[in-house]
Symmetry: D2
Subunit: 483 residues, 4 copies
Amino acid sequence: MNHRRCATLALAAAVWGAPLAAAPAKGKAALQKTKAEAIASIERHRAELVSLSDQVWGFAETALRETRSAKVLADYAEQQGFRVERGVAGMPTAFIASYGEGRPVIGIMGEYDALPGLSQKAVPSREILAEGAPGHGCGHNLFGAASLGAAVAIKEAIAAGKLAGTIRFYGTPAEESVGGKVYMVRAGLFKDVDVALAWHPDTENRPDTQGGQAIVDMIVEFKGKTAHAAFDPWNGRSALDGLELMTHAINLMREHVKPTVRLHYVIANGGNVPNVVPEYAKLWLWVRDVERAGLEDVLARVRKAAEGAALAAGVESRITVQAGDYEMLVNQAGARLLHANLVALGPIAYTADEDKFARTLQASAGVEAKGMNTGVRSLEGQENQGGSTDVGDVSWNVPTLHVSIATAPAGVPWHAWPVVAAGGMSIGHKGMVLAAKTLATTMADLFDDAAAREAVVAEFREKTKGFTYKAYIPDSPPPLPTN
Amino acid sequence: MNHRRCATLALAAAVWGAPLAAAPAKGKAALQKTKAEAIASIERHRAELVSLSDQVWGFAETALRETRSAKVLADYAEQQGFRVERGVAGMPTAFIASYGEGRPVIGIMGEYDALPGLSQKAVPSREILAEGAPGHGCGHNLFGAASLGAAVAIKEAIAAGKLAGTIRFYGTPAEESVGGKVYMVRAGLFKDVDVALAWHPDTENRPDTQGGQAIVDMIVEFKGKTAHAAFDPWNGRSALDGLELMTHAINLMREHVKPTVRLHYVIANGGNVPNVVPEYAKLWLWVRDVERAGLEDVLARVRKAAEGAALAAGVESRITVQAGDYEMLVNQAGARLLHANLVALGPIAYTADEDKFARTLQASAGVEAKGMNTGVRSLEGQENQGGSTDVGDVSWNVPTLHVSIATAPAGVPWHAWPVVAAGGMSIGHKGMVLAAKTLATTMADLFDDAAAREAVVAEFREKTKGFTYKAYIPDSPPPLPTN
Amino acid sequence: MNHRRCATLALAAAVWGAPLAAAPAKGKAALQKTKAEAIASIERHRAELVSLSDQVWGFAETALRETRSAKVLADYAEQQGFRVERGVAGMPTAFIASYGEGRPVIGIMGEYDALPGLSQKAVPSREILAEGAPGHGCGHNLFGAASLGAAVAIKEAIAAGKLAGTIRFYGTPAEESVGGKVYMVRAGLFKDVDVALAWHPDTENRPDTQGGQAIVDMIVEFKGKTAHAAFDPWNGRSALDGLELMTHAINLMREHVKPTVRLHYVIANGGNVPNVVPEYAKLWLWVRDVERAGLEDVLARVRKAAEGAALAAGVESRITVQAGDYEMLVNQAGARLLHANLVALGPIAYTADEDKFARTLQASAGVEAKGMNTGVRSLEGQENQGGSTDVGDVSWNVPTLHVSIATAPAGVPWHAWPVVAAGGMSIGHKGMVLAAKTLATTMADLFDDAAAREAVVAEFREKTKGFTYKAYIPDSPPPLPTN
Amino acid sequence: MNHRRCATLALAAAVWGAPLAAAPAKGKAALQKTKAEAIASIERHRAELVSLSDQVWGFAETALRETRSAKVLADYAEQQGFRVERGVAGMPTAFIASYGEGRPVIGIMGEYDALPGLSQKAVPSREILAEGAPGHGCGHNLFGAASLGAAVAIKEAIAAGKLAGTIRFYGTPAEESVGGKVYMVRAGLFKDVDVALAWHPDTENRPDTQGGQAIVDMIVEFKGKTAHAAFDPWNGRSALDGLELMTHAINLMREHVKPTVRLHYVIANGGNVPNVVPEYAKLWLWVRDVERAGLEDVLARVRKAAEGAALAAGVESRITVQAGDYEMLVNQAGARLLHANLVALGPIAYTADEDKFARTLQASAGVEAKGMNTGVRSLEGQENQGGSTDVGDVSWNVPTLHVSIATAPAGVPWHAWPVVAAGGMSIGHKGMVLAAKTLATTMADLFDDAAAREAVVAEFREKTKGFTYKAYIPDSPPPLPTN
């Protein structure tokens, strides 16, 4: 979930599955053994994974500047025997690490970008580590390390001849802005993948069955004609007038869009100095809906709002879509696999200190101090909490499984210091390990159980019948950092 | 000056010419004699003119419904020997009364439409004559009678062989709305006129040297798509949204028009019932500027504001220009003739009762009770008080002279009951007689003094060089009353 | 459901109960017999009930003008032996008809007001009966007759000694505007009622388990200072400016209210003539939410929006709440009783002609021509379709059961001529009879089965614990018609 | 004229006095001799004055950072024998240089602050001297040097016993922003001054008889409550909503202020990122009118607009007046003295190269290339071109004479590179010298001719009768630069 868009604050979860109730989907002994070995692999590499996560947490590099973060992950993959291709899709911090040959090709995604201004020590009260520096307020340090850990476990199974096919780790940068995965999809890097997996740090454990929101991130620029605002304002045509008419149109439009639509904006440039009739103004606008189809309709109207506002104000407008994600295409068959494995793995046991840490964070956030969620959410009855991620774009191109794992206590604000704090200590580490195990065992299912894999793929095919993917990004390379 | 537009509230007049100082422009004895006879004619017909004025005051018929008013004036003209053509330019209450042959052709305009809801007795306090009925709140009962009286005086001079040419009285209906003269101009009825004259009731005596404002009166309609406002508002496109965006655009535009521009509107239809997303909305908008050229520029922008607002709201817009006047093209040479005659005629002498009547009106209006203005305003230093009249359109087609004569005390609100009251008694009558004499003597100049007439025409030609007239009315016949 | 607010257009209903599956809730033979006799009573009076309905349909009288409609219903009740009190709660067309003594007191409501401008013949294409006249576009002719028919059936059971207690028919006028029941509640007329019942014509058969929306209907007036819009607009303070700022505030507010809130308005007065800076402007605004609590919060903000807009425009504002309904407090125990009886009564059998009539209406509305709904909607999975009714206010004062019965084919627009047409012929009549039977049998339960009645009352008590009712109407008598 | 406010673009000047026609007001030989010697002094120091001007032009230091500029001027004054007090009124770059004793006390103001981003070489085409650096786009390098040159000439006359009294040079920083003179007035530094003088670079020679505009520069801040714009926007109250309502109110207000009022704004902060409901927004607004009285009325309404907008949006507002100037109180008696001296000094003779330079600048600005204005504008018929200066505040505290001198060709944009170019070469230098001579000879009149001085003072007293000065600045010290 990204900075621009994330909204995964877990609400009170009314319906929970019994944590130990479910049995493995298949009783096949070999597969069970492979899974047990994958779990053992992750435990064996645990210290390395924690170290990777902590390093990335310490680097705290923001979108497309994750040089060191990408390097430690890619280097580790290389050390573990993966073939690593760096700088893919035109992004220096994007990479792919592969192992094995042939089909099936199972991809697993890992993120590692931080958020600006969130520097925080791994303590349960507000203590800044480095003034003004970024911090991992969305837990992506855990995200990358866990996914890579799962990939290593599968690699070892392939190397040991227990599984056959290709495991591919996608180092996906810049989720919080830009949307690195969208560029990787466009570059064709997911083309031959049978099934892809991802997870996300959260405040509960939940195989996801809701798709969040599709989003478009756009800039609307207005260009007028300047004049002296006191001397000859009649010779001016204010770009800001155009912008204000457009925001008025947007606000009127709110009555005439479905309740699932969200429109939100800031005025990024509203003129320089009062004396001068503004010849330039800039609106930064996001549009969301739970489905891309609804979004498209609203987008078309937003475009007309810009055009009409400009016409009415005697100025010009230009819309630039600078990013955008699809809502996630949920795969129920995949969610069932994730759920079974997650339940089988059992709940995390937190120490008294960890419990106190979690409750302290909750207390400081003013929410009920009830500690960490340890149960597993049922597949039914999940509400769509909103939020957007570039995993959405992957999910419309290949069958994608997505799971959320608790790495911070319920109720604390996301994209905020408590998430940084919990993600830099053992609570985060334990969530990361559970994520790695859940992903690894589910990948074992996908490699070994052709029927299960086929069910995932068939559901995807059914749901995308007649659909053609078109990315919400400009026809240009990814924007690279200017510094 | 019309109902929609009038703004002739005389401000404190700092610069007044000495009422008796000016001598006749020409010393020619014959002309002087003709003028004296014209004045005598008006005195001779005074009772008839007062009767005509009082009848029209009593009829109090509004625009294009002035059936009886037009009839008494046209009948009187016929009785006086004029050839009368009724129902000209597609308007049953428009008529032309002519006498004489050949050039020059001098036209004189007379109005007779009343204003809705202004019924009032001829007394100096608020007393309604007939509940809800119209009243002559702009003094047009005096306007028609005075002009016709002047025409009769000239007719007698022609009949007596003192003057040669054609005198033509234009019975011009519907000044307060519609703009009857604009349709008469379009019908070519002024084509062969050498010079036209008009006057208007006022609170001071003033040969006009300011042109007022050009105006356009338009309807902007918006058409959207209805829906149930509670159940499925997302299926609706609100016409009112379009309207509100347009008014916002208009208000933003105010910063970017010259200070002489006026834009004002009311929302004539803003939806029927809240439950229904309005599929129709209607704005009634007037645009003015002191010059048509400036008006045209603003008009073009207003059209874009409507179009852009509709586009931004997802609805449709339609603009209908339903009326419009040019600003009056001032003729300075003509104003000098009017001024000389007005000064020569000397001030009106009011009785003590009339003076008391005037002061009572002023007191009730909360302004200084200083009685009637009797002086004559100088040609220089007049401020443009705004206001619009369809005489403006005539003035861009033929040289037009315009004079204002006091028929109500300074400071009382125009288009209001005090004007009705004063116009129905001797204060109004005295102003009417002075207007008739001023117009008749000035017409004598124009018939007899070729050089004076030529100066008037030459100034007009110079000022309209390269100009092409295009009326601000739809390409349709005048709107006739529906009841 | 009322004119201002109704939105009961049945959507595709995914989950239907099997029409014949359910058995009566109680097997007690006596009660079953009483029910059978009630059903027989209704069949016996069928022709009279159809006649009452058709008379009211023909009168088509709008809110608080239902003189003849109220009279035929009250007269019929009197003829049937009820004690009738007319003109209750300050409304000449409100009445109460009672029979029996002591507890329990069961009330049943009947409406009979029509909607303006909907005159239509009882034919399946648009044919106006009387130009400009009202019509029964919400089926209230059926509503009143069915409820009264049910009351008569119960009265006969009481008279026969089969049931004990008091049956009370409430003739409730002016649902479509004003909200007559709110005034009747305020007058204390429901104070001693144990349980109340109501039904409403619809396009499906559904014991209601969703409460619709609470609504407030308000007028916001702005008062400024007039001035001549061309001559001295700077001396004016436009009331319309205040109004336009308020609507802008309302539209901005849309982002910051819950998706269940609805705000909709029309501009009822937006000035008279452009020449005059408007000194008066009037907004007509409705606010709704699915719960009164949410509504109250929005209301408080709307009040500030008016106040702030006026302050910002230099004018004054005044809010008058002129009507308002609570959302309906659903009684699940009651809904189960209704469901059981409705299912037991079995589906309506339509003739081929009726079926053709229904399909013709659907075709003309552009929806799928699948004829009448005959099934019974399940209690679970009903969506809240919105819409408001003054039954809501009753439901917060006494336990209230509400059922919808199909009287028009699915998909046709409500408050429109197809509803008038179907309500004036046998499709409407059959629905009316089914409604009467459902209500009568359910009342039999309530009289006879103390446990069932107690469950209804207990649920009500539980749900209203700590709640104090305060009507959304001004502290003045009901507004009576002015003509 | 300052950066925020300047509008001295000379329009076509219809009425010009004959440059050589006027004779000295007084024939007194001694005064004439003193004037001649003052002129000679300025010629004697010419190279030094040019050097001072060029140094300040080269430093190009912006408001309150004019450290080196203030130093060279203050050092020069000290070298010339003035007593210098530096860092007055809490501003390190403000200073006062005095010479002589007793009355009369004649003050002369000099400015020296530059404008950001206007760096330009002294060549007639756009050539940047230092990228991104400031430049003297308002000619204040000439302003300071000329005024100081005039002061030195008077000092020499006092030293020589030709004049008696005190000459005081005010080094007034930060005219372009902040308004240094307002703080100097508040500190009481002008209290004992009999008459003050100032000039300004311009495109024509004009003793000023129009006062420009009073101005207030304010910040309007809105504070709301943040929330996640996709997840729970209903919990947010957008500060930007408040701001947008206020700008709407401002735009509606435009119809209801006099045509002389100007309101202009930019949106300085319109939120950070779309995902977050803005809890802070900032409007930067200037209000002007030709008279402070009118300004005060509009200010009061603007305050209510902010308050009302905040109320309507459920947020808070705060207005901070950060600067403000009075309109200049014109002194006609003083203007006559300036006019006589300016005419007597005769026109500047430009070389062919200078002429070509001026025409090249005009050509590049797209205006008629007619070279420099050399005539002297009449005192009558000057139009108020708008623009504001902190000299205005001085003028309401002591009688103030103000003259404009051509230092750039007519028609080129002010606050732009052509002004920088012309002010750094001989065209600017010649204007500076003429300004110095005009000011010196006029000061000679004021020292020597008690009647002339008394006329100036008497006019001031008459015009300020009953007036109490209150500065438009916060009750805090001047804002000092942060870097």
